[in-house]
Symmetry: none
Subunit: 122 residues, 2 copies
DNA sequence: CGCCGCTTTTACAAGCTCTTTACAGGTCCG
DNA sequence: CGGACCTGTAAAGAGCTTGTAAAAGCGGCG
C-alpha cells in the first residue's frame, strides 16, 4: 500500500493497477515489456535508472549480460510517446535512462559536469 | 441481488433471467455455452477478462489446460454479433478478452493492437 | 438405429511480442 | 584525429498466441 496507484502529469497517465497508460486521453497500446519498462522509469521519475537496474528489474538479467533488447524497447516506447518522446525519456550516456515529468526537462547536453542529479544506487 | 437483471446498450440486450440476448430487436440464437460466454464478458463490460478466468467460469477448466474451445466459441459469438463483432468483442493478446459497450471503442489503427487497459485479478 | 445440433478437437494460417543481428552514428578520452 | 565504447535504428527470426475451417465426439430424440 505504499505505492501510489498511478502516475500522472500533463500528458501522461500510468495506471499501475491496470497496467495501462494513456497519452493525451488516447490509450497507449503497450506490450507487456513496454509497460514494465515505462512503469519502472516512471516510478523513478526524475531519477536516472542505471541500465543494469533496468535489465535486472524488467528482464531479470544479472550483471554482465550484453544485449540490445533494452535499447530496442526504449525506442518502441519513444515511438509510442510520439512528440513527447525526447522530453520524457532521456538517455544518460554510459549510465542509464531517466524519465522526466512533463515540463521539468532541463537541457541535458554533455557539458554538464555539475552534480548530475539523482541516480539509483549510486 | 447485487446483480442487475440485464445488460443493455444501443444494440445489445442480454437478459440474465431468461438467459437470452437480443441484437437490434432480433433475438440472437445462442447455444448454452455461447450464452454463458457472452454473459460473463458482458458482466465485466469494459474490463479485460483473462483467458484463464473464462476457461474457469464457463468450462470449469483449471489452470494449465490448453484448448482452443474458447477461441472457437469466441468466433461463433462474433459471427452472431454480425457487423458489431469487432467493436463488441476485443482480443487482448496474451491476456484475454474484453467486451466493449457500444460506442466506447476507440479504434486506433496502424501500428498496434488494443490497449491493455483494465484486467481482472491482475 | 440414424439424424441432428452442440461442443470439442485438430491442423494449419496468421498475427504479435520479444530478441538478436548488423551496421550506423555518438560520445569520451588520450 | 583516432580508437574504444556506447546508443540508435532497421530488419530478420524464433516462439508463442489467436483465427479459422473442417472433422470428430457426444447426447437427445424420433
Amino acid at each position: 500500500m505504499d505505492h501510489p496507484q498511478c502516475y500522472r502529469d500533463t500528458h501522461l497517465l500510468v495506471d499501475f493497477e491496470r497496467r495501462s497508460a494513456t497519452l493525451d486521453t488516447q490509450p497507449m497500446a503497450l506490450t507487456r515489456k513496454e509497460y514494465d519498462l515505462l512503469a519502472l522509469l516512471v516510478t523513478y521519475a526524475g531519477v536516472i535508472v542505471p541500465r543494469a537496474e533496468l535489465l535486472m528489474r524488467v528482464w531479470g538479467y544479472g550483471a554482465g549480460i550484453r544485449t540490445r533488447t533494452l535499447d530496442v524497447h526504449i525506442r518502441h516506447l519513444r515511438c509510442k510517446l510520439g512528440v513527447y518522446a525526447d522530453s520524457y525519456i532521456e538517455t544518460v550516456f554510459g549510465v542509464g535512462h531517466r524519465f522526466q515529468p512533463y515540463g521539468s526537462s532541463r537541457r541535458l547536453q554533455s557539458s554538464a559536469m555539475e552534480p548530475p542529479a539523482l541516480a539509483l544506487g549510486v
